[in-house]
Amino acid sequence: MNRWLNRSVTLVLTALIGWGLWSVLHWLLLAADWRVVVSNLPLYVVGSYPVDQRWRPLLWMVALVVLIGFTLLGPRRGPLQRWLPLIWLAMAPLGLWLVAGGLVLEPVSTRDWGGFTLTLLLTFGSGLLALPIGVLLALGRRSRLPVLRLSSTAYIELMRAVPLIAVLFFGQLLIPLFLPPGLEINRVLRAVLAFAFFAAAYIAEDVRGGLQAIPPMQREAAAVLGLSEWQSLQLVVLPQALRIALPSLTNQAVGLLQNTSLMAILGLVELLGISRSLLANPVFIGRFLEVYLWLAAVYWLACTAMALLARHLELRLDPLRSDR
């Protein structure tokens, strides 16, 4: 770019940014009314969870924040670091137990789950379920057995052709139809299942990409050492493939967190859903911008934290950078 053009671009942009800042400032100082956010904070966090039991989801979230902090900032060596992946895995069942109750804790019906707690539960639960299904589908798609290959491929391609909202909507309607009469599962569980079935198809493609990136020589080297096909898959191929797929799996996880907002259309009161019902309250009528900015900030923070964690994991798993 020549200098003239460069200068005029800078000038125009500065003017635009200045105008934008001015309008924002104007709105913040004169028009914005944050009561819709401030006075409803508990609702955003836990929904209509019973007041005397709120400490349970809060405890879970505090544990999550502590764990994130420890993972990102804690010491790189030490006995706790070795258990870190397991501790992370344990967070989903722990959250489920704390929120749902049972075993000493008083049970709380899923109808009362809501807010950011529900968003996190949906994300964790479906992600954890989708990963193994996705890996199996990826292996199935690369299998030598035509039956397995064709059915995996058909599943993956069909799922990827349909929009998520349709999967979620029909999940709510159809999952009960495919279950034996008498067996009923609640809306949250149906949502988790639908999310998991949907995400698994995308995860499968990412894992398949990772599998394809492993040179065939690696399998040969494993075979020559006498490893069985299963051992070679488990010890040599999959660990490498998952590592290669990690960046795209991270994107899937971030996408999953964002997509839980779609449940607001289907009537769950997760973070976005609870905001919609708040905006329907006459007291807060028209306070869209305040609520949307607040939600955008929360989602942005959560997604960025997730991306940071994954980036951290990538670096730790990279054999060249790790200082083990």
Binding site: M217, Q218, E220, A221, A222, A223, V224, L225, G226, L227, S228, Q231, L235, V236, P239, Q240, R243, P319, L320, R324
Partner: protein, 246 residues
């Protein structure tokens, strides 16, 4: 003298009409070092890869350490052979996600079910023997090519094989790294290991080989002791190859 490998009339063809192996027969005595030479595409790599079942045969018969393989080969004998035969590749093929130590102990622990501590001790010994003991806790990508190839040799030796196969072990190395790998192989030969080595290293063949086999277009052109092969090869094709090599 017991026979380690006996091949009779081996045939392998990748595309109909052309044969990578066209009736190859040979014997390798146990304790012998056989060097296989030939121009690229002569079938020497294919041959050595049939010895542990990496390539399926289209015809002929193989007897490796008393285990039979032929065109209708089953999985079980192949796995038995692989347990007793070690192999080193041109491209090292170390597992990049495992440390050097884990690369070596993986098969002893998972296949032979040896205790981890014992396998690690043996791995350290082997690394010591290869002169790279201090690399044990690094990862493959942190090592030079020559060091990686020596790890690959140690990894194969960790299973206590009766035969070692080398498929162009120095072809992917920088020239100044070739010697360290050849030295390790020389030592192995001195210790009495049965070895089949596909290589272009004339010096190594002349000095270490018991016999040199020359292949071209999927066939064995001649087999002789290194001294007579390098000074007066019988066949025109061998002489032409040798003159191009120098």
């Amino acid at each position: 003298m017991t026979v380690a490998i006996r091949a009779t009339d081996l045939v392998k063809s990748y595309t109909p009409g052309s044969r990578a192996l066209d009736g190859v027969s040979l014997e390798v005595a146990s304790g012998e070092v056989l060097v296989v030479m030939g121009p690229s595409g002569s079938g020497k790599s294919t041959l050595i890869r049939t010895f542990n079942g990496l390539e399926k045969l289209d015809g002929g018969e193989l007897d490796v350490l008393g285990v039979r393989l032929d065109a209708a080969h089953e999985e079980r004998p192949v796995r038995e052979i692989r347990r007793r035969v070690g192999m080193v590749f041109q491209q090292f093929n170390l597992f990049p996600h495992l440390s050097i130590l884990d690369n070596i102990t993986l098969a002893p622990v998972k296949v032979q079910k040896r205790p981890k501590a014992q396998a690690e001790q043996r791995a350290i010994e082997l690394l010591d023997q290869m002169g790279i003991r201090e690399q044990a806790h690094k990862f493959p990508a942190q090592l030079s090519g020559g060091q990686q190839q020596r790890v690959a040799i140690a990894r194969a030796l960790a299973l206590d094989p009766e035969v070692m196969l080398f498929d162009e072990p120095t072809s992917a190395l920088d020239p100044e790294r070739v010697k360290e790998v050849l030295d390790a192989m020389r030592q192995l030969a001195r210790d009495g290991m049965t070895m089949v080595v596909v290589t272009h290293e004339l010096g190594f063949a002349r000095e270490v080989a018991d016999r040199v086999m020359f292949m071209d277009q999927g066939q064995v052109v001649e087999t002789s002791d290194p001294a007579s092969f390098f000074t007066n090869a019988r066949e025109e094709r061998s002489r032409r190859f040798l003159s191009q090599m120098v």
